[in-house]
């Protein structure tokens, strides 16, 4: 117990003194997860709008499938993306394996179902009259989607934040696609896994505390947005 307590104190010290390794890993982690959330949002929010607004056969089944994929195991996504971008895969020529760019793409794929699904839920809550009013005033389909997203922007932002949280806290894609290369693709979650296995508990705990703090901030932001 004493050892854990001492490790905890040393972890705090690493954070307070802005240990270069801790700062570097945290910054990279935030950059990759924010980029993946941003990339996913660019595609998933309009796509969610399109699915919500259009009437087509199999829409309910598609929404069910998207919702089922919320809990998609991260290692499964990691495996699929690995097969796609590995040297012999269809996208192998881009050289994305074991790069931050590959991790961003992988995490964006991972968080897509949750972002699309929550966007659909958010937009479904906007009244039909808003859509009809925009249409009657001459809006195109994409303009109607933009209006509806604007009306539901708090819930849409919450969807994007949840996606960011999932990207930040996942291990499978980061490990399999990034390869946990020191100074290049090592992020908070993969570092914690590695440092713990190496017995470097104070660094693990410091990174773990940072991860929990970021999650806490995301949660507070979500509560604030939803409470408005």
């Amino acid at each position: 117990m004493q050892e854990i307590w001492n490790g905890f104190l040393r972890a705090i010290d690493l954070i307070i003194t802005l240990n270069p390794q801790v700062v570097e890993i945290t910054t990279r982690s935030l950059f990759i997860s924010l980029s993946s959330a941003f990339l996913a949002a660019l595609i998933c929010v309009p796509l969610g709008g399109l699915i919500e607004l259009r009437r087509f056969r199999g829409k309910d089944a598609l929404v069910n499938l998207i919702q089922t994929l919320y809990s998609l195991p991260t290692v499964t996504v990691g495996l699929i993306v690995f097969l796609l971008i590995s040297r012999t895969g269809p996208l192998g020529s881009f050289g994305l394996l074991f790069t931050p760019s590959g991790m961003i793409i992988g995490q964006a794929i991972l968080v897509s179902p949750i972002m699309i699904g929550l966007t659909i839920t958010a937009l479904a809550a906007v009244s039909v009259q808003i859509k009809d009013t925009a249409k009657s005033l001459g809006a195109t389909e994409m303009q109607i989607i933009a209006v509806v997203i604007k009306e539901a922007r708090q819930a849409v932002v919450a969807a994007v934040l949840l996606g960011f949280g999932r990207a930040l806290s996942e291990v499978g894609v980061a490990m399999m696609i990034g390869g946990n290369i020191r100074g290049y693709t090592r992020v908070l979650t993969t570092s914690i896994a590695l440092e713990t296995s190496m017995g470097n508990l104070e660094l693990s705990m410091a990174l773990g505390m940072i991860l929990i703090s970021i999650s806490l901030i995301i949660n507070m932001l979500l509560n604030r947005i939803q409470g408005r």
Binding site: S127, Q129, I130, D132, T133, A134, K135, S136, L137, G138, A139, T140, E141, Q143, V147, K150, E151
Partner: protein, 243 residues
């Protein structure tokens, strides 16, 4: 040539497990500069008809011809182009988030235009000058109704569809709406107005179309329609005496 021609229009909607015919074999025209009142009891299909004309819903049968262009079954590009020459004000208008100015300028902005003078003029027409920066969602029902009208007026439509335009308004505001509608007709705008207000109908309409149970029971000048006792009894359950 009539600006709008409705040919054999029919609309069926599912209500539970039953398909209900809301509109049946509607044939009607509207000319430029004409005010056409749509009257009939609640549930007779007035709003549904306006929605078909505004291309918000697709009819199950028939054709809507706008300025010579058939719109049922037409491409989205053709329909959008026609829709942009019309405007509709709903019975219970909703406001977009944001200011009154943002709401009134919506239609202009999506057309890539912004004309501040025209926005101010539309607000002035509905007696809401100075409301530009007000949050639209905080306005009263009557004010929202007038903002919705300004939102349509600013687009200078060739065909204006009004669904109970004065239902939420006090007599003074209702009078000003009536004056606007008359002014629009003088500018050769075709106005189709669904209403329960028979006095307004008599005062404004050039022609009246009576809908009963989704069918056109009569179309004619207000005096002709309201002097037809059988039609009045049929539609208004005998409460047309004061007309």
């Amino acid at each position: 040539m009539a600006l709008l021609e409705i040919i054999d229009l029919g609309k069926t909607v599912p209500q539970g497990k039953v398909l209900v015919e809301i509109l049946k074999e509607i044939n009607l025209t509207a000319e430029r500069g004409e005010i056409l009142a749509l009257i009939g009891p609640t549930g007779s299909g007035k709003t549904t008809m306006l929605r078909q004309i505004n291309l918000l819903d697709e009819p199950d049968q028939g054709q809507i011809v706008f300025d010579g262009i058939p719109l049922v079954g037409a491409s989205e590009k053709v329909r959008l182009s026609a829709r942009r020459r019309m405007a509709m004000v709903f019975q219970k208008p909703v406001m977009f988030r944001g200011s009154v100015q943002g709401n009134v300028s919506f239609g202009l902005k999506i057309r890539g235009r912004d004309d501040h003078e025209r926005i101010l003029s539309a607000l002035d027409a509905v007696h809401l000058s100075g409301y530009e920066e007000r949050e639209a969602g905080t306005l009263s029902g009557g004010e929202m109704q007038r903002i919705a009208l300004a939102r349509a007026l600013v687009l200078q439509p060739e065909l204006l569809l009004l669904d109970e335009p004065t239902a939420n308004l006090d007599p003074r505001s209702a009078d000003s709406i009536d004056r606007i509608v008359r002014g629009l007709a003088r500018e050769m705008v075709a106005v189709i107005m669904a209403t329960h207000n028979m006095q307004q109908c008599r005062k404004l309409a050039d022609r009246v179309a009576v809908l009963v149970g989704g069918r056109l029971a009569k179309v004619g000048r207000p005096d002709d329609v309201f002097s037809d006792k059988e039609i009045c009894d049929q539609i208004f359950c005998g409460n047309s005496g004061g007309l």
